[in-house]
Each structure stands twice: as C-alpha cells, then as structure tokens.
Amino acid sequence: MWFIATATFLAMHAVPGDPLMNEKATTAEIRENLARKYGLDRPLAEQYVIYLSNMIQGDFGISFTQQNRRVNDIIKDHFPVSAALGILAITFAALGGILWGAITALYRNQLPDIIIMFLVILGISVPSFVFAALGQLLLVNLNQWFGTSILPVAGWGTFSHMLMPSLVLGLGTMALLTRLMRSSMLEVVNEDFIKTAKAKGLSPQRIFFKHQLRNAILPVVTVLGPQIAAITTGGFVVELVFAIPGLGRYFVQAVQQLDYTVIMGTTVFYGAFLVLMVILVDIIYGFIDPRVRLK
C-alpha cells in the first residue's frame, strides 16, 4: 500500500502541469495564494511527508477541482454506486461465464460451442465504449418500438437503471470467464475421478453438477477476485455513457485535471480494495476446495 501511494505521488508530480492551471491565466499573486492554500508551495519532500501522515489518519484532503468537497466524502458518496454496479456486473459475468462455459464444454466442437466461442472472441476484443454505445442505442430503439419507456436510457436510481450498464460492464469479464470455464471443464472431464464416478454408475447430472462443475469452478474463482476489483474501478466509460455517478468518472477526470488529492485518494483506496478482494477470494477458495483449507 505504501508502495502504491509513493509510486503514484512521484508519477503525479512528474507530469507537467499542476491542478491550479487554467485556460485563463492568473496573476502571480493569485497563483501564490492558491499554492499556499493547498500546500503546493512547499518542497516536494515536505508535501510527501504531510500527505502520508494525513493518509495514515484517514484524511485524504480536499479536491482541487471541486473545492468544497473532501476526498473522503467523494469516495464515500460515489464508491457505493460503482460497487453496486460492479457487483451486479460480476454476478452477470460469473453466472453467464459458468453457464456458457459449461455448455461449450458439453457440446464441444458442435454448433453451440462454435457460436459461443465466436461471441467470446468479440466480447474480449471489442472495447467497452462500443458495447456501451450499442447497449444504449438498443435501449433507445426498444423504447421507441414499444412506444413507451420500458427501460431508462441513462441515469441512476432504480434497479432498471442498473440492468444495461452492468450487463455492458460485465461482458468482457463474462467472455473471459467463459473461456476459462471451458478449458477448465475440458481438463476435469479427463480426470481419473470422473472415470471412477462413471464407473460407479452415478447419473450424468450428478457427475456434471457435483463433481465436474465444482472442480472446474476453481480457476474461475481465482480470477474473480482481481476481476471484481477491475470491474469496480474500470467503470469509467460505462459511467460516462449511462450518466452514472460512480467513482470511476471522478478518478479519470482527476487524472485529466491533475487533481492531486483525488488521484492519491482514489488510487490508494482502489489499491486497498484490490488487496481485500484477493484475500477474500483466498478464503472462499478454502470453502469450495477442501484440499486447500487454511490450517
């Protein structure tokens, strides 16, 4: 965590420009006053120490661009939105990934497999803003076709606002998980214990659900941790297109505006979140696979 904070701090200050610059130039006095207000006039090393000590106490400071808002409040107000979106997206991605992956393994090299794998390639290679724009267009056409508003085209507030954005957000991960699930299932199918189960006379359904699926899911679960973090933090495009007040937008805008405090706050927060997710996944692993229980 300290490493993330330090690396970000150095990278931020290495970039030319600063948060106080604007299209219309300011006099030297005004610049000095602004700099003094935000502590930007102190030497870099001193700024770093001040920043770290505040951070340890949980205070990320005040945003440069939204001058009346504390970074803590920004994170507090907007992260839950990104989290809700992310959780729904991951749910779609996980359910979809497991389902499609299982189907392709079952119908290996037949039509369903070919179709799904083609869609998977699309899902992995097509950038998210294309899906977001297409998704929104689909909603507009849907509403026009029905003559009334079935699903909202953008915005935030109700469950129906979350449907399309989280679907779009989860698509890339869903494709990834499908592929993973597919190869994992195909490996498991050839394992000895499956042959044993068949020899024992267990029904195909029981073999599929109790033995094959449960074992094949492991690689998917491993990847799920970092994927949750990636989805929750990578929602910028979806948030922009669907007008969702999430943290992703603030993060990207902060980088563009060189809003030091917001950049540091959100980066450190995301870092902590990622670490947390990875730990969580390790714990869940222990429940799914008894062979990996923590001693």
Binding site: V15, P16, G17, D18, P19, M21, N22, E23, K24, A25, T26, T27, E29, I30, N33, L34, K37, T65, Q66, Q67, N68, R69, I74, D77, H78, A133, Q136, L137, L139, V140, N143, Q144, F146, T148, S149, I150, L151, P152, V153, A154, G155, W156, G157, T158, F159, S160, H161, L240, V241, F242, A243, I244, P245, R249, Y250, Q256, Q257, L258
Partner: protein, 532 residues
C-alpha cells in the same frame, strides 16, 4: 411476442413509474442534462460554464439581462453614472431565500471577498476597473480600501479607478453577485458545497443536489420579480459529458435540450429534429510564439502562412457542422461597436488566399533568416476532436502549398496549458471566449502585460492603442483604437484567425422563450415557458 411484452410490463412495475416526459406543461417543469458536475457554486470564485449556468438562474446581481439580451435592473432598481463613479439604489423587495432582504452590504462583502488575494479568485481581474481593486488583489492594500461603499442598506456607491465605458456590463457578471456575510461566516468552509449551504436571490433556487447525478432547481417564491417567471422547475436529472448519451436521452424524451457535435449532428438529422445554430461568441486562431530565438518571430513567415490560408475552405470542408463562421479578425462579428456591430462599422480586411504572394513572402522569409528550408514548426493543440482536425488540416495545407513542415503536438488539458505557459511551442491552436460584453475582452489579449498573451507578443503600438481604449469612455474613441488593433492584427499577422465558433443544438418544440447568449448564463431559462 406476448412473453416480451409481459416481461416489459413486469420490469415497468418492478422499477416503479418511469416518467418519460422531458417537458410538463401542467407543472411547468423542464428536464435537462448538465455536461458536468458544477465544480464551484461560490459565485465569487466560479469560472466554468456549468457553474455559471446554475448561478445565473439561482442568483442575481445589480443588473441582469432581459428577454432581448439588454441590460435591465436586477437587485438595483435604478442607478446614476458619472465618468468615475456609480450609485445604485437597491429595491426594497429583493430578498434572499431565507427571507432576509438583499442589502448593499451584501455587495460590499462579495466584491471585497472577490478581490481579496486570500480568496484567490481567478476572476478577480474583472473588478479591476473598481478603485484599488488591482492593488488589493496584489496584496498591496487592505480589502477595506476597495472603491465600494454601502451608504445605507439600500444604497451602494462605487468609485472607479479610471473612466470605464463598459463598467455597467460587469454588474451582471457572476463574480459581482451579492453574498450575505452572516450566512457565509456561518458555513464558511462548506459554503456552496451543497444545496443547503447557499442563499438564493434569483428566479430559482436549488432544492436538490445529488453530486454527479442530478441538480434540481425550483421557482424561488421570494424572488422580487416572481410574477414574470413562468417555469416552476428546471430539473437537471442527468450529468454526463458524453454528447451521444445526451442525444439518446433527448430521443427518449428524457431531456428537452442538448447540444450536438460533428458525430451526433448526423443522427439528429436522421431523426428529423430541427437543428438550431448558435454562435458561441468565441474565436479560434493560431497563435505564434514571439519569444527570442523562435522562427515564428519573423513577420514574412507569418504573412506567408496568412496568405496561404483559406478560411472558407476550412469552415466548409473541415469543420462541417453548421454555424461556424470563417475567421477574419480578432474581434468576432457579434461584438458591439458604437451603434452597430464593430465589424459593420470597421470591416476587417478580407483574408483571401493568394498562393503566389505566399510563396514570394516565404522566399523573403528564408532569405531574412538565412536558411534554405524552414525547420519543422511545432503546432501544439488540445486533444479535442475539433482541435486535432484543425491541426491536421493546417499541417496538410502548409505542406502542400508552401512545403512547410509542421509537427503536431497533441496534449491533454493541463499539459497543453503547461507548455503554453512555458512557451514550449512554435504555433499553438488557441481560442478566446468573452468574459464580458465589451470589445475590451478581446482587445487587450495581446497587450504585453496580459498573462493570457502566451506567445509573449510585445508591441508598444498595440499597448498604446489598448491604453487609449481603456482610459476613454467615449465610444467613438474606443472603437477607433480597437479598429487600429484590428488592422495591426492583420498587418503584423499577430495571429491567424481560423473560425468563429458556432454550435448546433436541439430543443423540445414545446419550449418557448429559451434565450441563448454569449455572455453569462447560457442557455437562459429565466423567461422560458412550456406551451401545452
């Protein structure tokens, strides 16, 4: 088919009522989208368009603009002007949203605060015509020395530093809006951070503000002129910078107004919406670097580029959205002159491409500089789609016509600003929008003392003409000085004007009375209404 319709109805019920009506004639409420979350609703510090849009609706200064765009009484009922002083009589029924009357002391407080160096307001310079404002802002005098005084609760006196013909125009500007000191001190650090952390004296007030999600304004029942306000609410239910998302919201009848760009323009045409053009008032030009050692300091080179450029071709073939005008002058066509527009009274020299002359001038430039070939020039631009188009066109045009090499340097916002300030460019794609409704806002741009003169152009004659216009309140004298500047801009090829920006937008046909303006709060919903 039935399954889908039932699914749709189920979703509808599940999610609660979704209203898809951007205008409500019964309730007189209009729904819009904001391009970004307003970063600063403290009127003494706000600089960006979105914040000024909101503030222009929920607060009011001494004067305001009426339906026709003329200066009209605001908090001030009447006023008397002399060459270096102004006296305002405030109306007794102007009230804040908490019931307190708006007093002269509120103006004294906000003006002092705006020029206070501790506030570090980026628009403090707008008050420089007021006596001692500049000295105070530079930390040389206490704020109490500012030339503004509350004679009593409803009478305000302003003393000017020098005769300033456009002073009245400033009294409608956001930085001069009043702020009640008592309220401000009670919330200080979080003033204007939320809807409840501000007092409103305008036609509307903010009733609900969910950061980055929505901002709702309702008619202010304590506004002195509430009888003339027909709208009951302006709901900004969506906040996104994506123009396509806003177009989709418009098609879905969720918002009643949105601006279009090159991409969304074609889709709007397909949907057969009525496209309306509007000149934003900004001019875009190529600015040269005049620092020592820069090749662009050579006059013949700049004149060669000027002679090669075809503004009509650029606007019609490259920009391709309607509403843009070919660049001809530093001063845009809407700026007022003495009685008509400035450009009608003092027409700019027409820029017609003359390739022969351009080549001749280039040869002379090379001779003067003592080079066989002009080295590649760096053209710095922002990363917006229009700016990159502009850069690519310029590069291609100069290469084909004059065999000049241009290297395009695309930079994001802050990095471009940093390079401009450092002087790390040969040519920069720049633009300028008006701060107030007077020719001076463009005229002083290349004065040697102007910090926005990023190329560091320095010409004593230019400076002299600016001072003449600054120190006189006679319109004819001022306009003639500005005409001199216009000629200088052309003859000395100080900049290369490329275009005057126009935007295109669509609005719901049931909205009437929506005012577009180049200065201040735009678009202005104050006198808008929704017809049934």
């Amino acid at each position: 088919m039935n399954f889908f319709k039932s699914l749709a109805i189920a979703l509808l019920l599940f999610s609660g009522a979704i209203e898809a009506q951007s205008v409500d004639a019964t309730r007189q409420v209009v729904k819009i989208a904001l391009a970004q979350e307003p970063p600063q609703l403290n009127s003494m510090k706000a600089t960006d368009q979105v914040s000024i849009f909101v503030l222009g609706h929920v607060m009011e200064g001494l004067t305001r603009y009426d339906r026709r765009g003329n200066l009209a009484p605001g908090v001030a009922e009447r006023w008397a002007l002399s060459s270096t002083a102004a006296k305002f009589w405030l109306r007794k029924d102007a009230k804040w949203s908490n019931g307190d009357p708006v007093t002269a002391h509120d103006f004294v407080f906000s003006w002092r605060n705006a020029v206070d160096p501790k506030t570090a307001s980026e628009y403090a310079f707008i008050l420089y015509p007021v006596k001692n404002a500049e000295a105070i802002n530079q930390g040389n005098l206490p704020v109490t020395d500012l030339g503004i005084r509350a004679v009593d609760d409803h009478t305000l006196e302003v003393t000017l530093e020098r005769p300033t013909g456009y002073f009245m125009k400033l009294t409608a500007f956001v930085t001069t809006f009043p702020v009640q000191e008592r309220f401000y001190r009670s919330v200080e650090a979080s003033y204007a951070a939320d809807a409840g952390q501000m007092l409103y004296n305008g036609p509307f007030k903010i009733t609900d503000w969910v950061h980055s999600a929505s901002l709702k304004m309702q008619k202010n029942q304590t506004y002195w002129n509430r009888q003339t306000i027909q709208l009951n609410g302006i709901d900004a239910d969506y906040i996104t910078a994506d123009t396509r998302a806003r177009l989709n919201l418009f098609i879905d009848d969720e918002i009643a107004y949105t601006q279009l760009d090159g991409e969304t323009y074609k889709d709007a045409l397909k949907n057969q919406f009525r496209i309306r053009p509007f000149a934003t008032g900004s001019v875009y030009f190529l600015e040269y670097n005049y620092r020592p050692g820069r090749i662009t300091g050579n006059l013949k080179l700049r004149q060669a580029i000027q002679a090669a450029f075809d503004p009509d071709e650029f606007v019609n073939k490259v920009l391709q959205t309607p509403g843009n005008l070919p660049g001809a002058s530093l001063f845009p066509s809407w700026i007022k002159g003495v009685s008509k527009t400035f450009r009608e009274e003092f027409p700019a020299k027409v820029l017609r491409p003359d390739l022969e002359r351009a080549k001749r001038l280039l040869a002379e430039a090379k001779a003067e500089l003592g080079v066989e070939q002009i080295p590649p020039l760096v053209l710095l631009v922002s990363d917006s789609p229009t700016a990159t188009k502009q850069a690519e066109y310029t590069q291609g045009m100069l290469k084909t016509k004059l065999n000049l090499d241009i290297k395009i340097d695309v930079q994001t916002f802050k990095q471009r600003l940093a390079k401009m300030t450092e002087g790390d460019f040969d040519i920069v794609g720049a633009g300028w929008g008006p701060d107030f409704d007077d020719i001076m806002t463009f005229g002083d741009l290349f004065a040697s003392w102007n910090l926005n003169n990023r190329g560091r152009y320095n010409n004593p004659e230019y400076d002299r003409l600016v001072r003449v216009a600054m120190n006189s309140s006679d319109p004819a004298t001022r306009m003639e000085a500005m005409a001199g500047i216009q000629t200088l801009v052309h003859d000395d090829a100080i900049i290369l004007p490329m275009y005057e920006q126009g935007v295109i937008y669509i609005q719901h046909p049931k909205i009437k009375g929506l005012r577009r303006t180049v200065i201040g709060s735009d678009p202005d919903f104050t006198h808008a209404r929704i017809v049934p």
